[in-house]
Amino acid sequence: MPINYKKHKKLFLAILFAIVLVFLPTHSAKACVLGWDPISTCILEGTSYFVYLIFTIVGKGIVALAGILQLVINIPVYPSGGIAVIDESWKIMRNFANMFFIVALILMAFATIFDVIPGAAKYNARALFGRFLFTALLINFSLVLGVMVIQGTQVLSNTFLFSIGDMSGRLGQGLNPSLLLPNVSATTASQAVDQGIFGALISLVFALVLAVTFLFSILTAVIFTFIRIPILWALLVVSPIAWILNVFPSGQGTFKKWWSTFIGWNMFLPIFLFFLYFGLYFLSQQDTVIKAIAGSSSTGSILGDVATSFTFQTLFMYIMAGIFLIGGTSVAMKASMFSGTGVVGIAKWSRGVAARRLGLTGLGQAAKEKQAEIMAGEGRLGRIFGGPPAGLETSRKLFGVRGGDIKAQKEFLDRSKNDFDRFENEYDTGKLSVAQLRAKVQSTKGDSAEGYAYRKLAIKKGALDERQFTDALVSVKNNPLAIQELVKTAKESKFDGIKDLKSVALDPRLDSPNFTPAKRELLLNIGSDNKLAAKLDTADVAKAVSILGGESTPEAKKFLLDVGGTRPDLIAQRKSITSGTNIKGEMYKLINTADSKKLADMPPQVWRDPTFQDALKIKIQFLNRTNKALPEGTLFPRGTTPPVGMPPGITLPNGDILIPGRPGAIPGGRKFKGRPGGGDKFKMQLDNATTGNGFKNGVVARL
């Protein structure tokens, strides 16, 4: 009948407790009697017994582990007689891997036949055959080669093992924790603890930590020296697969990884033994060190002269020895291969799992977040403990702090950023709808961090129209950085939701200098956007130029150039007035570089403008003159002279002679119907580009 462990949990615990009690270290019984300070005496007694208990457990643990380590490091990975399970498994793997030679041959054959296929070149016979032969030969020796590497590293290990000798004995002799205790005259740890005073507990804690560190250092060493054996066996067994992979270009990485892993695990033991040897050597020389310390120290108490006290110096020596032992394991891991590979990763993962399970990670993260919130001045605590100090802005102004304004503006943006991130998160997860966002914009003030964050999010999500966008800008009128950020956000969202950007840029409420950079940005956007520029009129252009600082500023020039690409009518008119030139000439200059597609995209009011139509005609005339149309007539191919008495012909660039107006009537000539000129071709392109628009195409037809 199966035992229900859960049901009998209490019973099992009681049995376990009894067993532990039996094995507890013996300690002379001492009843607490009423002396002059019975309570403190009892506490001291209890504490000393507890510390003694832990020391005993840790010490026994070290002894046991040292014994196991001694046993494990002396286990040969591959004894001279071989290991049946490895040999037989390796044979199976080798036979399996041999099948892949056929696959490799077929692959090579196909890659050689279809050499033209991109990427096939690296699989053809020329590329693979050398490695194929090499592998075919060495795959049979993969076990031998592996064993050679193992034995090579074993030679190194043996050198250290021989030097170390009885490792567990030396470790046990070397480590005497009682030396760390306050009263050095005591012979055992128990007595040392009994004689200890309450103030010396600090040194006890140090000693305890060091002892536990030794324990874990040896535990780690035991684990790694032990697990390397099955790992090396497994690597030996799969070695034929690693070798066969070497034939294929994509498997060479795996082959190299196999070697690095194999050599890494082999090298672990010699490197670890080197450090163990060094640590033990250091411990074995402790007599000399302790004598020197005893000679120089005046007191045994750690609370006395700390730097020269016996306990402190002894502690330091043990720490050094501990560093060699722990560091030795760590260096052995890194030097062999573990850094960046699975082992260190597993260690980190296990630590992370433990921290997460205990809630430490979550706790830490939550604490950090709350602290950031408080420092940013958010929430009830933030208003009390965080945020900028009261009266900071006023004081900055009072003292004339340079850049004080900018600092305040930046701080405002920083405060609002956290709110913004939170609101955006809510929006993205569906906790905040567009309607709710609009309501929040209505119900909050734009100059508060929260209200600003809602407005910024609404702009980003295209939830504000032009009037609301202008209101949002006005609400932060004293913070140019905030204004700039709002405009930048709107620009990034391509002014989504704002249909009439012109009304924002030219709104009289934004006439303060704080808005000038923002308006400049908006106007330049309008200029470069065909649809927005199409809605401008002469007065708008004049106002825009004035906002941009006048005709001669780079911004105004760029604006006029951009608008000229969409609204040449407005710009030509303006230029002819300001510079007194012919308006047709100005229009011609503006459309001269535009291709037929761009011209066709210009708004209907441009196409309606007679000046624009005339400019198109000028362009057609110009192109027809520079790339002439050939008239109808008779063509005399190059080398053929027209009969005597013919009217003078036109010699064409290819040497043909054309006599216009006489289609095919002249003997020896070829009938020629004429060829369109550059302007004619431009007209055809315009036809093509305007086929979707009857009005524009009608204009082209009449050109």
Binding site: Y588, N592, N624, R670, D687, G692, G694, A701
Partner: protein, 193 residues
């Protein structure tokens, strides 16, 4: 197309003055006869033109390009030269091509239509049709098939385009190297026959 991007004010003034002197002269050619797109642009009503533009706008881009391309104009001019077509006949062939391109005429009815509209014999009409199909319509065969399938669903089972192999486009013949003292009429040019 050569467009001077850096016109000086003098050049601009000159161009404007040239235009002011003769605004209706454009020094081009009267290519309307040879353009399937423009052939009736000046002599049909505004409403008909609008209707035509709507049809054109529904066409696929490759067909639209062929309809308005300068190369199409040059192709029809060459056709008119080769078959000695008058201006009226050139305009008719432009209309026939236009009708095919906008889907008002089946390619299979091209020979009959050419023969009727241009008052030409069947053989010449067939030659013109072959030239149009092989040289002008070849790049847009699939688009034309699709268009005709939409416009004439009852004829979908009919072979839309002939299955005859495409003859390669005849390259423009270079000038014969004939000595000056030899009469050209006595030389028979056997190339491309």
């Amino acid at each position: 197309m050569d467009i001077d991007n850096n016109l000086t004010q003098e050049q601009v003034d000159y161009e404007v003055s040239q235009f002011e002197q003769s605004p209706n002269v454009n020094w081009g050619m009267d290519f309307e006869y040879y353009s399937p797109f423009r052939v009736d642009a000046k002599n049909i009503s505004e409403a008909s033109w609008e209707n035509f533009l709507q049809k054109v706008n529904m066409l696929s881009v490759p067909i639209k390009n062929i309809l308005t391309d300068a190369n199409t104009v040059e192709f029809i001019i060459t056709l008119a030269e080769d078959f000695e077509l008058s201006n009226d006949q050139s305009a008719s062939i432009s209309r026939v091509i236009r009708n095919v391109l906008i889907g008002d005429l089946l390619v299979n009815d091209l020979t009959t239509s050419i023969s009727q509209k241009l008052t030409l014999d069947q053989d010449t009409a067939k030659q013109i049709r072959d030239s149009i199909v092989n040289n002008l319509l070849a790049p847009i065969t699939e688009d034309i098939k699709k268009l005709q399938d939409e416009k004439f669903p009852e004829t979908t089972n009919r072979p839309v385009m002939p299955s005859r192999p495409q003859t390669p486009k005849i390259p423009e013949r270079p000038d014969l190297k004939i000595e000056q003292d030899i009469n050209r009429n006595n030389v028979v040019d056997l190339r491309n026959k």
